[in-house]
Amino acid sequence: MAGTEEPTEARGGPDWEGVRLHVVSGKGGTGKTTVAAALALALAAEGRRTLLIEVEGRQGIAELFGIAALPYEERKVATVSAAQLGGPAKGRGQVNGEVFALAIDTEQALLEYLDMFYKLGRAGKALQKVGFVDFATTIAPGVRDVLLTGKACEAARRKGPDGRRAYDAVVMDAPPTGRLTRFLNVNSEVAGLARFGPIHSQAQAVMGVLKSPETAVHLVTLLEEMPVQETVDGFTELRAAGLPTGGVMVNMVRPPVLDAAAVAAVHGDHREEVALALVEAGLGGRSRTAATRRAAVEPLLDPLLDQAREHAERVALEHEQRADLAALRLPSYELPLLSGGVDLGGLYRLAGELKAQGAA
């Protein structure tokens, strides 16, 4: 993991060895989908196979990978080599890893599930006709959540005919933190409604996987007050619910342009020296008299120093947020803000960062 003081150095094994189900959540818009996809890529390097699952029916994965809408079916969406993630070009890295994706369609999943257990036949059609699925998932969101988490758990445990795991890891792009604990705590959500029967036992089986060390719940945040608050609250809730906490994924980190010493210097009085430096850099024009050149940079001085002070204020705020996150005592990873947004190349870059920092 990348602590605040330790940059991306050589280290031991990845931090989540043994985890098969990675749940990625966070405040809305912080980059859950992006980070989940980058993590699936990172975990697939070195010839592994991962599955990226989306549960909210928004086709965010398709949009991110720039492909057509995904059907309710596991599909290969990317291959990845260790070299693409900044690893060595030769050796083990030569086997390409594969990322599969699945966009779960709740209605189909529910009918499929019911049919499997109850052989509904005509009754299934009847349920569909009266709008049962909409109804069931609205009035008892726990039922939908059991299905969604159940699907992810099933994929994480699935074995092929040769007895090997179908996927080395499954990454779920989960609902935002506000709904996360309810979403994952399917057991208690459903228990109040369905006290017996197959849905109830399904919920218990799912809970068993979710609470096991094979699962880790990561939260994505920005270095801003509200997302950090939500992250701290989110981990507290997860702990209280007995769910396994994962890492803190700090996203959209802006590079510190001015280092701490420079920021401190801005607060001192360095106006004149800075003015001289600007003149020297040619910003005072080509006039031969020093005084004219000095006068020419004058209008730049206050705006530049103001911007630096704003920058310093931001750095100080981010420092506070980092301290709040550090108090969680969880592995933490930092992903840079990519100017101009995240394209496919950017996604590999973020995956490389996660790998370098030990998340995969």
Binding site: G28, G29, Y118, R122, A123, A126, L127, K129, V130, F132, D134, F135, T138, I139, A140, P141, G142, R179, R182, E189, G192, L193, A194, R195, F196, G197, I199, E224, E225, M226, Q229, V257, L258, A262, A265, V266, H270, E273, V274, L276, A277, L278, E280, A281, G282, L283, P299, L300, P303, L304, Q307, A308, R309, E310, H311, E313, R314, L317, S339, G340
Partner: protein
């Protein structure tokens, strides 16, 4: 080339005919901040104002005295109108408690015994706490209640932190149609026709549906469900009527929508959807608040020149005596920072221009990105001042 007009929030809030301002937009763009800033400004300009916030940041909530979720407006300390405490102008604020608002609706519409049955039903509890859209619906409900009291000159409404700004408009009808849905009627059928009716028009045996549900969920659950549906049935009409009435309120004279967006592609795309939707529903759009816009005091220095100058300082750094070498490093940092700022501004400008070229008639006001976040009344005043726009101050 842009033909956009400047939006003046002062003109809007100073007009006594403006009674409701709704702040919409996608998540995290600053809806709550904008709503609070407008409420404060209106109060300080002499109107009796209430702000309905949904999910304020903790420190902002504290600064407005919103430490408790008691679901009623409370006066905000430290705010008076232009003529002091005895003149007109006051600010009240509240934070929405969605479950409590829902409970109150139930209590208002059912006799005590039935209300209790509903409130205790596990399905109601799940619906009132978790239904996607309950928050939106309850925000509208609360708005309707505040308006009905007639106690306020101006109501400023924040909207829930949904992904899409449209959710606010769609959720109430979604809940309505859910409560009117066929399955509800199927579940009600046994009670209505003595337990053995077949809904011929659906061509579905009620027994088959309820039987299957019982098999899946267990009979206890089915009983809970039917109790819930039966209890709610008497209220459906009331629910829908209320939702319709509030929806009409949004179309009425005196209501103004402000769409809040950050100068980013995703946020402005959402804003565009919302603008289209308001037009389709004939709802009054007052304008776009472009929040967290970056600016600079030195626009004459381009990113390219700043980078080049920084580079020359970095390369020459070693040739100076220590004091000036430090200053060179500092100046290079300032120039890099400026270059970055200019690049952000160019991108934001481009994003804005794209919006304007499609919506030249939508008035816009820009609010600068402050260095820190906005968490006290002074911060809100600053934002409010920028929102004020062209009207005299």
């Amino acid at each position: 080339m842009t033909t956009e007009q400047e939006l003046s929030v002062d003109r809007l809030i100073d007009d006594p005919r403006t009674r409701i301002v709704v702040c919409c937009g996608s998540g995290g763009v600053g809806k709550t901040t904008t709503a609070a800033a407008i409420g404060l400004r209106a109060a300080e300009r002499g109107r009796r104002t209430v702000v309905l916030t949904i999910d304020p940041a903790r420190r902002l909530a504290q600064s407005m005295g919103l430490t408790e979720l008691d679901n009623t407006p409370r006066p905000v300390k430290g705010v008076t109108g232009p003529d002091g405490p005895d003149g007109p102008g006051e600010l009240h604020a509240m934070m929405l408690d969605m479950k409590r608002t829902f409970d109150e609706v139930v209590i208002a519409h059912a006799d005590p015994e039935r209300a209790r049955a509903i409130l205790e039903n596990p399905f109601y509890q799940s619906l009132s706490a978790g239904f996607a859209g309950t928050q939106e619906y309850m925000a509208m409900e609360k708005l309707g209640q505040l308006r009905a009291t007639g106690a306020w000159d101006l109501i400023v409404v924040d909207t829930p932190p949904s992904r899409s700004a449209l959710d606010f408009l769609d959720a109430p009808s979604r809940l309505g149609s859910f409560l009117d849905g066929r399955i509800i009627r199927v579940l009600m059928a046994p009670a209505k026709v003595g337990g053995r009716g077949a809904m011929k028009f659906l061509n579905v045996g009620v027994g088959m549906v309820t039987g299957t549900l019982g098999k899946i969920f267990g009979s206890q659950l089915l009983t809970d469900l039917q109790t819930f549906v039966a209890a709610m049935d008497s209220m459906f009409g009331g629910f829908r009527e209320r939702a319709d009435r509030t929806y009409q309120l949004l179309k009425a004279e005196g209501t103004a929508f402000l769409v809040v967006a950050a100068p980013e592609r995703d946020a402005l795309r959402e804003a565009a959807y919302f603008v289209d939707r308001l037009a389709a529903d004939e709802m009054p759009l007052a304008g776009l608040v472009l929040n967290r816009v970056h600016g600079t005091g030195a626009p004459q220095l381009s990113a390219e020149r700043a980078h080049a100058a920084a580079q020359s300082l970095e390369e020459n750094g070693a040739e100076h005596e220590p004091g000036q070498a430090d200053a060179d490093v500092l100046a290079a940092g300032l120039l890099r920072l400026h270059a970055e700022r200019m690049e952000v501004m160019v991108r934001e400008r481009r994003t804005r221009d794209r919006f304007v070229s499609v919506y030249p008639d939508v008035p816009i006001v820009e609010v600068p990105a402050l260095a820190g976040d906005v968490h006290d009344l002074d911060g809100l005043r600053l934002i409010g001042h920028r929102l004020g726009g062209t009207a005299e101050d």
